[in-house]
């Protein structure tokens, strides 16, 4: 049973919350917030205890030190999102559906855990679907807002489409190999035309989920329409989990045609970083801005995937971890300001430092970390990504990525300029954020500042990534 510890714990707290929810009258739903956060915190902590690696269901479900760590990373991210959402959930419009937020979030998380642990394409697909469909409901959470409903519909359509493409690819894999188990498929991948086609379909399906260019078109609209906390979930946790399993499958199942997918990734990486950055420059709405910035960041993660080997896997996980803290920091600030003032544009932030210095500082640190400025964690993450890609000899790719970091620095500086340099006649008024928000942001800042300095995080990830390739 310990093998499925993460999943069982999550299922347990989901059930507990569901039962508690039944006994709460409609006006008292808010009371579920504190127990939900405490339970999630307990699960996160319990996840860190050493577990037993092993396989279940005849190999459909596999658990290793690596997958346990990935699940822990996701748990931390979700915990921070829970904490950050409190301020928004307490608003009057949400008072009747507070518990749905937690339940839907937890069920997607369970889906992701199954997805990461899958040892079989079928299990992988089930996990993926479980992880996707509740998110669409979450995106439409503020159902009375037109944009939110639109985001939900768009997300469900795009998910359906990409799942269809993915399934088609998987069916071809089954057709050529006669099995769905990773371990059995891997040796039978020979690079036959049908298998290449299958791989491309699989790739396209995943690219939708990770929102790589040219499969990114849904991203900005959905991110803008969904509530901020759901957006941050989409951009960090969903994306992170998809990247993890994508990398694992590339390295284990498709390792024999690595030459082929390296070239494909080369092009996609270039496109993703560049297009994401160029579009991010033109955005005024901060949610759209962060959407495109997160597309570009996904491109950077691909640099690590191209790096292959243990080093590549390590940098992917490490950067994803850093990215979770940095992006959640940025989204946390955007969220609280959006809740209190309804303002989401960059020029609304003019003079923010004079009225809300602490929020501006958190935002500045988060953006600098995303831009890769030392001594923040983002710098280390980016540096290792570049090292991994350079190790495979992709110097020009690294150079283009480096030029792109300068472009990204430009637009991150635009936000910092608004907050610190510009003055405004009507700045966002001074307000006091609640304890939960502060705790959430504090966790992010701690992550951003500490992860880089303590090399042990990196070493831990490195040691656990062993044996993937």
């Amino acid at each position: 049973m310990l093998i499925m510890r993460h999943e069982l714990l999550l299922i347990a707290i989901t059930v507990i919350l569901l039962i508690v929810e039944i006994f709460l009258p409609n006006t008292q739903k808010r009371k579920i917030i504190l127990p939900a956060i405490l339970l999630m915190a307990a699960v996160t902590v319990l996840g860190f205890f050493p577990g037993t690696p092993g396989i279940l269901f005849g190999g459909m479900f596999q658990s290793s030190q690596l997958t346990m760590m990935l699940k822990n990373i996701l748990n931390i991210g979700v915990l921070i999102i829970f904490i950050q959402s409190v301020d928004w959930l307490k608003q009057d419009q949400n008072k009747e559906k507070v518990s749905e937020f937690f339940l839907l979030m937890l069920s997607t998380l369970i889906g992701m855990n199954f997805m990461i642990s899958s040892g079989d394409f079928l299990m992988f697909y089930i996990g993926l679907e479980l992880a996707t469909i509740p998110v669409a409901a979450l995106a439409a959470y503020e159902r009375l807002k037109e944009k939110s409903a639109e985001a939900g519909v768009k997300l469900i359509f795009i998910s359906a489409l990409s799942s269809g493409i993915l399934l088609y690819g998987l069916s071809m894999i089954y057709g050529t190999t006669g099995t769905m188990y990773f371990v059995d498929v891997a040796p039978m991948i020979t690079g036959a035309p049908l298998q290449v086609l299958a791989f491309i379909f699989f790739f396209a399906g995943m690219a939708f989920k990770i929102s790589l260019v040219p499969f990114h078109l849904w991203t900005a609209d959905v991110y803008e329409g969904a509530p901020v906390n759901v957006t941050s979930y989409l951009s960090v946790i969903s994306k992170g989990a998809a990247v993890f399993i994508f990398t694992i499958i590339l390295y284990t199942v498709f390792s024999k045609i690595a030459v082929m997918w390296s070239e494909l990734l080369y092009v996609i990486t270039l496109l993703t970083i560049t297009v994401g950055n160029l579009f991010a420059m033109r955005q005024q709405n901060l949610k759209r801005f962060l959407a495109f910035s997160s597309i570009a960041q996904a491109g950077f993660i691909l640099l690590g995937v191209i790096g292959q080997s243990q080093l590549g896997m390590t940098t992917v996980i490490y950067f994803a971890l850093v990215y979770i803290f940095s992006n959640l920091g940025a989204f946390g600030v955007v969220g609280i300001i959006s809740n209190r003032t309804g303002k989401e544009n960059i020029n609304d932030y003019d003079g923010l430092y004079r009225t809300n210095p602490n929020l501006s500082l958190v935002m500045m640190l988060a953006l600098f970390s995303l831009a890769g400025i030392p001594p923040l964690a983002g710098f280390f993450g980016k540096f290792f990504l570049f090292t991994a890609a350079a190790k495979q000899g992709y110097y020009w790719l690294v150079l283009i990525a480096l030029v792109n970091t300068i472009i990204s620095l430009y637009y991150y500086l635009l936000v910092i300029k608004a907050m610190l340099l510009n003055n405004s006649d009507q700045p966002i008024a001074k307000f006091k954020s609640d304890g939960y928000t502060r705790l959430g942001l504090l966790l992010c800042v701690a992550g951003i500042v500490i992860i880089g300095f303590t090399s042990s995080v990196y070493e831990l990830v490195f040691n656990l990534s062993f044996g993937l390739n």
Binding site: I373, P374, A390, K391, Y395, L409, L413, L420, L421
Partner: protein, 503 residues
């Protein structure tokens, strides 16, 4: 723990102190105490270094401290100094100390100002003591990024534009550097063994020539951007003109030296064969920079622009001297860095003080300032004379050494370059004397200037500290020159060893 760690710890403690300070005055005094301690430790370091050398310690780098940081990638926190870095640390400590006093009048957000300023300084200190390419790069970027806030928030004129331009250009340079560093890392162990960022270890290896030639332009241009290499200098005039006084001082005085130091310590030292192969391209650019900067300064009316262009000229001379590849010229390059660092910091400090009193920086609106503020005026004359290389001041020692060294290269190409570069001395004299004449002598053009007060106590501390530095080097250059020569030894040897590869 080595004494060098102090140079990281003191700024960090100072910043923490500033964050806990309650009033404006407290912020300033905490900064003064912190940077004063830093200056004392720098002097202590120089004395200790000289004592060690005198005692016969001939190790390549002294006061080494080596901590493993990232085991997998073999990244260390590895610090140590040779004569050159000691000299640069002394320069930095001096300029930062003077800079704190020069920004005594900051009213808007003083806490943030001094925090950013000291953050910048700690980046510079860290860069000079690092012997590991990774930490070196980390500190390099740490030194650049606070500039955005410093110019953007406390600057003047088109500050948003200048700040953005400066940051993006310098970070663009650092992107090139990063590529170069990763490239060197990947080839740091041609004979097998773990890859390393360790500068000293890499310098003992020979990287294949084609790799060197691929990486050298990236590294040299990358550091060259910060060292105002023509045509990548355009951030410098705008940035300096918009920056507040202390930031101009630190930037021209210290930060631009990071470029020169990096070119020599990383690009030329680690890739000597490529330096021989491709050095001529950059020598042409540097020569153009020397003469272009000097002529650029002649046309300007804004005091800060004049000085910014003169900095371009002087910093290009540093790169010019480094590319001469001989002991004397390189010696001159380091002397020039230090001399220019102190001198230009003095200039910018004085310009800031003059601007604070007259509220204009245009020279044709001023005149006769000698009568109303004799102290500042005399200091300005001293800075000017040092700038045009009058014997007795630091500028003379540096430029003489450079040109003597440059002239040791007997071929026509180097001779022509040397002659062109040397002619900039005349142009320098023109713009310096012109400014001194218009600004300080003659009649007072504006009656408001009659009521101007001379320097206050904090201005005087700032100015006197810097003038002391200039004259010390000018009068007694030998101890400095000896110290630098000791540090240069391995680099010149390595260059000479690489020379036979030349066709």
């Amino acid at each position: 723990m080595s004494i060098l760690t102090l140079f990281i710890i003191i700024p960090v403690l100072t910043i923490i102190g500033i964050l806990f300070s309650k009033s404006h005055m407290q912020v300033k005094w905490v900064s003064v105490v912190g940077m004063g301690l830093q200056l004392l430790s720098a002097i202590g370091l120089i004395l200790l270094y000289l004592a060690e050398r005198k005692a016969g310690n001939m190790a390549e780098v002294l006061f080494v401290q080596d901590n493993l940081w990232y085991e997998t990638l073999n990244i260390h926190f590895y610090v140590g100094v040779d004569g050159v870095s000691v000299a640069m640390i002394g320069l930095t400590a001096l300029v930062v100390f003077a800079g704190i006093f020069a920004s005594w009048d900051i009213v808007d957000l003083p806490r943030e100002f001094f925090t950013s300023l000291i953050l910048l300084a700690s980046g510079v200190f860290g860069f000079f003591i690092s012997l590991d390419l990774f930490t070196m790069f980390l500190f390099y970027e740490l030194a650049v990024i606070p500039m955005y806030l410093l110019i953007g928030i406390w600057g003047s004129g088109p500050r948003h534009y200048s700040a953005m331009k400066l940051t993006l250009m310098l970070m663009g340079g650092s992107a090139f550097i990063l590529l170069g560093i990763i490239g060197i890392y990947m080839h740091s162990a041609p004979n097998g063994g773990p890859l390393t960022f360790d500068l000293i270890k890499i310098s003992k290896e020979t990287i294949p020539l084609d790799i060197q030639c691929f990486l050298f332009p990236f590294l040299f241009v990358g550091f060259g951007v910060l060292g105002a290499l023509f045509p990548f200098h355009t951030w410098s005039p705008d940035g300096h003109a918009s920056a507040p006084t202390a930031v101009s001082m630190l930037h021209a005085g210290v930060l631009m030296k990071l470029g020169g130091y990096g070119c020599y310590r990383v690009a030329v030292f680690l890739l000597p064969a490529a330096a021989h192969e491709l050095g001529w391209i950059f020598l042409i650019l540097a020569t153009i920079g020397v003469i272009y900067g000097a002529f650029g300064a002649i046309w300007q009316k804004d005091l800060k622009y004049i000085n910014a262009y003169s900095s371009v000229s002087h910093c290009a001379l540093v790169l010019f001297a480094i590319l001469m590849f001989n002991q004397t010229a390189m010696n001159g390059a380091i002397m020039q860095m230090i001399s220019h660092g102190i001198m230009t910091a003095l200039f910018f400090a004085l310009i800031g003080m003059i601007y604070g009193r007259t509220h204009t920086r245009y020279i044709n609106e001023m005149g006769g300032l000698m009568k109303v503020m004799p102290f500042l005026a005399v200091a300005y004359v001293i800075a000017g004379l040092a700038s045009l290389g009058l014997p007795g001041f630091s500028g003379f020692v540096a430029e003489m050494t450079i040109f003597i060294g440059a002239f040791q290269n007997v071929d026509t190409f180097h001779r022509v370059a040397t002659i062109i570069a040397a002619s900039s001395i005349v142009v320098t004299a023109v713009y310096v004397l012109r400014v001194v004449g218009i600004l300080l002598l003659g009649k007072i053009k504006n009656e408001h200037f009659e009521e101007i007060k001379d320097a206050k106590w904090h201005d005087k501390i700032s100015v006197v500290t810097l003038i002391f530095g200039i004259t010390l080097i000018g009068m007694a250059p030998l101890w400095l020159s000896d110290m630098i020569t000791g540090g240069l030894g391995p680099i010149v040897q390595k260059l000479l060893a690489a020379a036979p590869i030349l066709p």
